[in-house]
C-alpha cells in the first residue's frame, strides 16, 4: 500500500467522521422532499423551503456538531476537486432542463419524447452520479447507497406507473429519515463539550 493511499484513507476516515452527524443527509433529503412536494402541489414555496436549510448548514454545524466533536477545516484542494465534479453534474442537470423547457425543437422528436418520459430517471441518475462521486472523494460510504436508492426508487416508480411526485417524495423521505437517525445517534454518542483548549503541562 503506498503512502499516498494511506493518507487518502486517513483523510476519508476523518471526513466521514466529521459528517457522521447526518446533517448533510437531512439537508439533501429535505431538498428532494421539497422538490417532490413542489411537484405535487405545484407551489414553488416548497421548492424554496427545500433549499432553505442549505444556507443554515454552517450555523447548524457550528451549533450542534462542533461543540461535540470539534472544529476542523479541510484542505481547500479536496473541496475544490469535489466542487468541480459537482459543478459539472449541476451543469448537466441544468442542460437537461433547459433542453426540456426551452429547446425541444433543437433535438430530434424521438429524443425529445424520451426526455419527456424519462427526465426524472435521468435526473435521478445524475444525482446518483453526484452521490457516488461525493462518496468516492469523501469516504462517506452511505452516499453510494443513496445513489443506488435514488435510481432504484425512480426507476421502480416509473415502471409501476406511480405518480411522479410520490416517488420523488419517497426518495427524499428515505434520505431524510436516515439523516434524522444519524443525528439522534450522534447526539447520544457525543455529549456537548464545554471545554476546548490545552491543559498546561504539569
Amino acid at each position: 500500500m503506498s503512502q499516498e493511499q494511506d493518507f487518502k484513507k486517513l483523510r476519508q476516515k476523518t471526513y466521514a467522521s466529521y459528517h457522521q452527524d447526518g446533517l448533510i443527509d437531512m439537508i439533501i433529503g429535505w431538498a428532494i422532499l421539497g422538490f417532490g412536494i413542489n411537484m405535487a402541489l405545484d407551489n414553488s414555496v416548497f421548492l424554496f423551503l427545500g433549499w432553505l436549510p442549505i444556507i443554515l448548514y454552517v450555523p447548524i454545524k457550528n451549533r450542534f456538531t462542533v461543540p461535540r466533536i470539534g472544529y476542523v477545516k479541510f484542505s481547500s484542494t479536496n473541496s475544490l476537486i469535489l466542487g468541480i465534479v459537482l459543478a459539472v453534474l449541476l451543469v448537466l442537470l441544468l442542460g437537461i432542463f433547459i433542453l426540456l423547457i426551452v429547446g425541444p425543437d433543437l433535438v430530434p422528436p424521438q429524443i425529445s419524447e424520451w426526455f419527456r418520459n424519462y427526465y426524472l430517471l435521468l435526473f435521478a441518475s445524475i444525482l446518483g452520479l453526484g452521490f457516488a462521486a461525493a462518496a468516492y472523494a469523501t469516504g462517506i460510504t452511505r452516499f453510494y447507497a443513496y445513489a443506488v436508492t435514488l435510481v432504484f426508487v425512480f426507476a421502480a416508480g416509473i415502471w409501476l406507473e406511480v405518480p411522479e411526485p410520490v416517488y420523488v417524495i419517497i426518495a427524499g423521505l428515505l434520505i431524510e429519515v436516515v439523516g434524522v437517525m444519524l443525528m439522534v445517534r450522534f447526539l447520544r454518542r457525543y455529549p456537548k463539550s464545554n471545554e476546548d483548549g490545552l491543559n498546561e503541562p504539569e
Binding site: F7, P59, G70, Y71, F74, S76, Y190, L198, N199
Partner: protein, 112 residues
C-alpha cells in the same frame, strides 16, 4: 566490506528517523494535522483517542519543535484552540515518511 559493516550501512537510514515524530502519539497528531488545514483541540482529541492531558503535553512538544502552531481564535464567536502544521512541520512529516519508507525498503530488500 565485512557483513557487520554492510548491515550497519543498510540500517543507516534509521538514524535519520525523527524521534520526535516517531513516538506513536505524536505521529498520530502529525498524521491528522497533515491531512487538514487546521483543527481544534476537541477534534484532535476525538480523532486520536488521546486524553486531554496526554494531547496537551504532546502538542506542546510539537509546538516547541516548531512543527505546529497553536492559536486561540474565535470561530463564529466561539473561542477555539486552533492547531495547524507549520511549513517546517509539513516538511518534517514528509521527510519522516520518506525515511521510514527507505528503512522498510532496506530491511525488506525492496529497493525502488
Amino acid at each position: 566490506m565485512n557483513q557487520s559493516e554492510s548491515s550497519n550501512q543498510e540500517l543507516q537510514p534509521i538514524t535519520n528517523i525523527d524521534p520526535l515524530i516517531h513516538a506513536p502519539t505524536r505521529l498520530k497528531i502529525m498524521a491528522y494535522l497533515s491531512i487538514v488545514e487546521s483543527a481544534d483541540f476537541t477534534f484532535l482529541m476525538n480523532q486520536t483517542g488521546l486524553t486531554r492531558g496526554n494531547l496537551s503535553v504532546n502538542l506542546r512538544k510539537l509546538e516547541d519543535a516548531g512543527y505546529i502552531s497553536i492559536k486561540k481564535v474565535f470561530v463564529d464567536r466561539i473561542p477555539r484552540t486552533l492547531i495547524r502544521l507549520t511549513g517546517e512541520g509539513r516538511l518534517a512529516i514528509q521527510t519522516y515518511r520518506e525515511n521510514m519508507q527507505q528503512v522498510l525498503n532496506e530491511l525488506l530488500g525492496d529497493k525502488e
